[in-house]
Symmetry: none
Subunit: 402 residues, 2 copies
């Protein structure tokens, strides 16, 4: 998109409906214990049947070899170049726990850590992955400080992790973090890298001093490390960009937050994929484009649980017709990244996708797998170009040039 | 090409011959009535036989989902990035009717339209697609006006369409058009967007006033709308770019004009593909590179006539050996874009191509179709890279780097 400013002029709104189902961590890898990839092993007749009537291919989320986090993975699918539109770790953590953010807020990712009371050297950067209950009560003690006119908030996330939020005027995020990212060193003082960020660094150094005092009588989890200072990025609004009303239907806060950052309307989607589908049905008349998020495949992939990932794909296939019943003009099934169970983590591998419209009859593959998608009607594309295909199939793009 | 400026240094002229046959609108789509794509349905043994001994693939004209006009589609095949080297609608229309253009001329695309004589509001933007004879006589009345030192020419194209040409010194094309692009509004005054274009806007507003007077006694086709103001673009010369003498052999004026814009020698090619082939034979010694244009596949595609497009491909196959008889060192069969009959329009779909040289024996596919080309020796490439392959196969590119 970055190289093609004229795209805006080509866009032609109409009444078509586009549903993009993002299966988090969709792609997998051959697993030696099962002799197949998760998609190959899964019994997913409804998805396979759709793939037979669809243009299929693989999306490259960033670049070959580059493993995306959830932020870049999703931004790509929505046509935002993830190398240009970066997202700060602090901000992503904050939206992941549904914090209300203003454009002037500074967010940081925090770790409780353990330091040696005498020397001040870091013994454990994660405070033994302290249990969440205990950590929460510690974080509560750190919440609500003030420095000059700045309010300092600390919000617990999980185990040793928390979000630090600075609220007030005169802040910027161009400061160094306090985490040396190695044990045996001291937490570092924060240094402002420009004059607009001086107050922020002062706040952080004040906060560091206060933590030491507040947690002085603890032997473990007696200090904190901060990094990823960031502000809400100023992304182009997706509804303006594509001249269509875009809605996000996701159960997990982080995906709602990401969608909100690019200007999607975030719908109340309940806590399950079934409630997400209900939300889709009850809001189908109100929007043009729907981002529908399916989480379980990624969760199982991250756990390295092959059978669980297979089951999550089979479950999806079983409920797919509840989505297709709406007969969207263009339906896309795609993934933000691969999460092969054999790696138990996100990976860089291109991700299978299908796009289905009245123009894709007869162009499909037999089974929706990584290998077959590679030979599909589209083949390998950059994930950022998927939205162009969505617009084209929906008749929302005029011809380029005379 | 834009990312590889060193290309120029790698080029090594030699005596090889390259023939690039551009089949306009070559690619198609599965048609539900026939159960196949046009290429799959067509009986084209000569092309298939060549494909068996060729490197095959698909060219992406611009970006996924982006449908190119004829201008961008051809520029891509000649290695000109169509996003960088845009072409104005007025200019393309002018070269389509073989107008002689100077670099200082301003061309616009004109429509005769019908306005309400009292209110001045547009009733019909295309004047009921007035028949060509009547339109021609109206356009003749508008031709030959003068404003200050500027000559104003009006040239009829077809039905309601005409080209407006401004000739003289002190003109530039950065003005707004007069077409509101919707009915029920007034034709707009033209506004200069920079000081160099002030005279142009004055001319257009003078012309608008004159039309009203000249056509005052008409009820329909009593006004005109203008858009796409443009000048001849200043493209790099193709013969310099590739260090080879390039010739265009095309029956239709627009393709001749396009070729001329990038510096090809435009040969007298008659009015049919057969006369084009004769022209190729009789000029074969004089040039290194030949662009040979085949139009009927696109025309049938635009008409949505599946069988006619199939026949046009079969006809091409039947006469192909008259081209191959010359034994060019490198022969390419490619398309500027797809024109699926099921869409009856240009489309964004990647276009099949083959490249044949003494280095491609044994690398081919069984049948020259969209699906098989995808799995050919080359696969998917940007159309702008096809010329690099042409040069490479002809021994015209040195090694890059030590």
């Amino acid at each position: 998109m970055i190289d093609f400013p004229e795209i805006q002029e080509l866009i032609k709104p109409n009444n078509s409906k586009i549903v993009m189902l993002v299966v988090d961590g969709l792609g997998g890898l051959y697993h030696p214990n099962y002799g197949k990839t998760e998609l190959e092993y899964a019994n997913i007749p409804e998805i396979d049947s759709l793939a037979k009537q669809s243009d299929c291919g693989l999306t490259l989320p960033v670049l070959p070899g580059i493993t995306p986090g959830s932020g870049p993975g999703h931004l790509s699918l929505f046509g935002y170049d993830p190398i240009k539109y970066t997202i700060g770790r602090g901000i992503l953590e904050a939206i992941g726990i549904s914090l209300n953010l203003n454009t002037s807020d500074i967010a940081a990712r925090g770790n409780l850590c353990t330091i040696n009371g005498q020397t001040g050297l870091i013994i454990d950067r994660r405070a033994g992955r302290i249990n969440s209950n205990e950590a929460k009560s510690i974080i509560n003690q750190l919440d609500g400080l003030k420095y000059k006119n700045i309010k300092i908030e600390a919000h617990h996330v999980k185990e040793h992790r928390f979000v630090l939020l600075l609220k007030g005027d005169g802040l910027d995020n161009n400061i160094t973090g306090t985490d040396p990212e190695i044990e045996g060193k001291m937490p570092m003082a924060s240094v402002a890298k420009d004059s607009g960020s001086t107050l922020t660094a002062e706040c952080i150094n004040y906060f560091n001093k206060q933590i030491k005092t507040i947690l002085a009588n603890r032997d473990t989890a007696n200090m904190a490390l901060l990094r990823g200072f960031s502000k809400i990025p100023n992304y182009p609004n997706i509804s303006d960009k594509y001249k269509m009303k875009c809605a996000a239907i996701a159960a997990y806060p982080m995906y709602k937050g990401l969608a909100k950052l690019i200007g999607m309307s975030v719908l109340d989607a309940g806590n399950s994929f079934e409630s997400e589908i209900q939300t889709l049905h009850s809001n189908y008349d109100k929007f043009d484009f729907f981002f529908l998020h399916y989480k379980p495949a990624d969760a199982a992939g991250e756990d390295g649980d092959f059978i669980q990932k297979v089951k999550s794909l089979e479950h999806l296939s079983g409920v797919l017709n509840n989505v297709l019943a709406l007969k969207p003009d263009t339906f896309i099934l795609a993934g933000d990244h691969s999460t092969p169970t054999v790696m138990a983590s996100h990976s860089w591998h291109p991700v299978p996708f299908l796009i289905n419209s009245k123009l894709t009859a007869g162009s499909g593959i037999q089974e929706f797998t990584e290998n077959q998608c590679r030979g599909g009607a589209i083949g390998n594309i950059n994930a950022t170009h998927l939205m162009l295909l969505a617009l084209a199939h929906s008749g929302r793009l005029n011809k380029f040039g005379p």
